[in-house]
Symmetry: C2
């Protein structure tokens, strides 16, 4: 059931807060939630990572990365980024801190990498660099999706470190025009990738040593992975991906398994054919959950903070078209309930802050960081 934003928007002025922040209250089953605009004026913000003292590292798809202070003030663009081809869905995407960031100051970010300077032939790449004095140092590209492709769609781009910090997972897409490639192992299209943080390939990846297979592949048959997180109790990596028209999916991607795209889907085929190839096939995995019609699922996070005790272990997922926050109650790998909350804005990503509050990025040219905390 849709929960709408209630109470008229009120203006709240916080001491030391220069921008006027609007706060609204969202009524949900277990909590009344205050929705505050923490920062705005970000150009399609895509990824966010929490630094110390309430500061945040934020990417803008338009090709900028900035530190946003705890009061919402935005720093100057960080210098030293590689060439990024900003085109349609492509640009600067996700950002994660090294598991040992306090000591090494290393960050990882994903972006659309051109084949050569200015080229519109691109693919998703991941770079690492040391962040110091608002500048990236020792930049190194640790992964480039093969092959590069014309067009600016379905880059995937979301990343997450494994629970032990040993592996970096990267979700990719089918680039829009290369659907069938998602079913073959000789490319990275429509794949989920597992690498070491230096870009090298773990020897126990499922297709290492298989003739012609790309060794970075963890799982395949994905359409366009947009959100990823690690489940708190199990340490398992989960991912959400866009379906075609319907069939947005939550998956629990296991090593070597086939998640079906474009052979099976709960969405409609292009042109509106119903069912088409069907929902399921031997040797392919059903999703754990799907949204049909599509919410255009974007980010996902397991809630594991202390601000919303009733939501502990729940999946929070966001929608672009759905302009929503979906809450999935879990029992292990089963969804046992969904609550759908209407936010009235396209949402790109959701992360849980160190303070246990929920942070959302809105997908607009004047994009915002929203903070969700318990209302008094």
């Amino acid at each position: 059931m849709k929960k709408a934003l209630v109470l008229a928007s009120t203006l709240a002025f916080t001491a030391g807060y220069t921008a006027s922040a609007s706060a609204e209250t969202l009524q949900t089953r277990w909590a009344d939630i205050q929705v505050e605009t923490l920062s705005e004026g970000l150009n399609h913000p895509w990824g966010i990572a929490f630094l110390s003292n309430g500061r945040m590292l934020v990417t803008e798809r338009a090709g900028h990365m900035r530190i946003v202070e705890s009061d919402g003030n935005k720093g100057d663009p960080i210098e030293g980024l590689p060439e990024i081809k900003v085109m349609r869905q492509g640009g600067l995407m996700d950002v994660k801190l090294s598991p040992d960031y306090e000591n090494d100051q290393i960050i990882y970010f994903s972006y659309s990498e051109p084949e050569s300077e200015g080229s519109e032939i691109t693919s998703t790449a991941v770079a690492k660099a040391r962040l110091q004095d608002n500048t990236l140092h020792d930049l190194e590209v640790i992964f480039s999706q093969y092959p590069k492709e014309q067009g600016g769609r379905h880059y995937g781009g979301r990343m997450i470190f494994s629970a032990d910090g040993e592996y970096l997972f990267l979700g990719l897409g089918d680039r829009g025009d290369r659907q069938d490639d998602a079913q073959t192992l000789d490319n990275h299209t429509g794949k989920l990738i597992r690498i070491y943080p230096d870009g090298s390939v773990p020897e126990d990846n499922p297709f290492v040593g298989e003739e012609g297979a790309q060794p970075e592949i963890w799982s395949y048959g994905h359409r366009n992975i947009q959100g990823m997180d690690i489940q708190p109790d199990t340490g398992l990596m989960w991912a959400v991906e866009h379906g075609p028209q319907g069939g947005d999916e939550v998956n629990l991607p296991e090593a070597g398994k086939n998640y079906g795209w474009p052979v099976v889907t709960h969405g409609e085929q292009y042109g509106g054919g119903e069912v088409g190839i069907g929902f399921d096939k031997e040797g392919m995995e059903l999703p754990v959950w799907h949204w049909t019609p599509s919410i255009a699922v974007s980010g996902m996070a397991f809630y594991d903070g202390n601000q919303f005790p009733a939501w502990q272990g729940n999946i929070l997922a966001t929608g672009l078209r759905g302009q929503n926050l979906a809450r999935l109650e879990m029992d292990g790998d089963r969804v046992i309930h969904e609550e759908d909350m209407d936010l009235g804005q396209r949402i790109r990503e959701v992360r849980i802050g160190p303070d246990g509050n929920i942070y959302l990025l809105t997908d607009h040219e004047n994009g915002k960081i929203l903070r969700l905390s318990p209302a008094e």
Copy 2:
């Protein structure tokens, strides 16, 4: 998402159909569905079983059982029923045919049985009898819930035969005033029961031989079981039950397990306390799915006909307060999607007909049998 009944109600006159039948179209994700009123004027119909030649055996909570012809015409009340105490939620409830009905003409039905003639101290009982010439013969009460209780609430009453026809399952309730009894094994309150069709107790029931335990108990900690069915592929028995305010549940009740009531629930405690005792506890089972807020879940059936191929294996569940048909897509014991269809009438039960169409009973004094078939 709620699908509303669309298209203005149209009157359809079928040859040989004396009552005027209204047909509406329900638009759903995978099918446009014609909703026809097959029969009406039934006083709170509760259970339905399919006889040969399209005839149906239907119970009315008010204490009548009738054969309804394939054209919707209602026969006279069947004679020979035992004394039934019709009071609040109590009365004549479910009806099932013997697995060998073609040869033995035996039926099983559940009802509120008074302690003595005219008494308001009642509990749920199951009787068997041979149906011949519109009369019950050789009537035998094969189970009586212990203890009997004042008040007319939470009788449970739904029944299902196991896939092999060897066992009869009966879902019971906490009688409203005996919540705590659902956690102790010395009574049938808030229990799911497994017996042989002659009323005797299977030796491998989980609490047979346990001092003081009622041997008919299969599982416990249920609030008020209202729907039951057997999953086609697995042969497993599933059940739905009412929560308090919220927390209507789908369960997959396993032998000897505790389904939590009244210790854990996703509903609210009486008086409106939130969370209260919490959702889960060691040694108690979470539901496979819950509706919160409550739809006041009533019947449930696995779809296994050939009229709606995209729904194969799905759970269909109905709501009294929700006035809805909920469709749960399944992957084994996981719900992977819900579609909610608004029917605008309180629905008591859902069964799949031998023709693959879906039959619903509406819970009104002028209750109806609705038939759902694919629209042209």
